[in-house]
Symmetry: C2
Subunit: 153 residues, 2 copies
Amino acid sequence: MVNSKNILSSVEEKCVERGIRLTPRRRQVLDVLVQEEAALSAYEIAQRCNADSDNPMPAMSVYRILDFLQEQQFVHRLETANKYISCSHLSCAHEHLQPQFLICNSCRRVEEIDLSSSAVAAMASAASAAGFASISSQLEVNGLCDRCVHANA
Amino acid sequence: MVNSKNILSSVEEKCVERGIRLTPRRRQVLDVLVQEEAALSAYEIAQRCNADSDNPMPAMSVYRILDFLQEQQFVHRLETANKYISCSHLSCAHEHLQPQFLICNSCRRVEEIDLSSSAVAAMASAASAAGFASISSQLEVNGLCDRCVHANA
DNA sequence: TAAGATACGATACACTGTATCATTTAGTTG
DNA sequence: CAACTAAATGATACAGTGTATCGTATCTTA
């Protein structure tokens, strides 16, 4: 179980700094994502919000709130899966660059990683060889996490 | 203009080898994709098929045919865009590994590339550091191609 | 030719995301 | 505090995408 209270209060501070509002609705959506190791679709998020609250969360609001949370880099969107996951640096002070993700094909959990600069450089050089100038990329790499490998062994 | 006739007859041979059928419908879909430098959605493919034929191509058929063409590795699916593109190795004899793509954010054309083994190794090591065992990845990297960079300069 | 497998046509439908309206809430200013 | 403005939310309708399913046609093989 994640200690979402600390994380959320850290987010709260950032919102104050930036002069934006972490409304109850936004906090509710973010909380759902922080609790979750796997990525969730917008409609899955709405379901979880409705599970532990009598005030129904419309899917429309989820999309709007996700847009907001993405702009603030509090959540990331996995483009290959059309799902959302909370940023792993919510409690950190430093800004981070383009994120990269490892997605387990078995348990669906997601790890946010930082690629080494050599790997990025190798990709840039492959791109330039193929006639592409700049690249800016959010890599999403599928695989099997250690837990699942051992579980199936 | 691509010489789709040669490419398609090469595909035809492969189908004979594999004991599968390249029906007129399948050929029609593949032809549309071979002509196109950019990736197309299923519905866009259906539209192009209907543009130069009076026999309407239902979207349903396009999906089925795309499934087939993907299984045979004649086309690839860009997961970030939900679009399809013909394999760049249709005339080659050799099998190829997991493909990687560069996608131009301006003109939308797509290049299929082979990453250097060093880049792949660097990624594998980053993955293992994050607790992921095997990775198998179709990388889709967005950027700007040289043509568009020069055009906007 | 008959039987089975494969491919295709057609309809309905579920899911996802957007457009657009009204309504409420929060923040600001006189 | 009252009035105004902007931001956030509620609610409805709808477009686009992909799937399920059933029936029909075509090909293959005995």
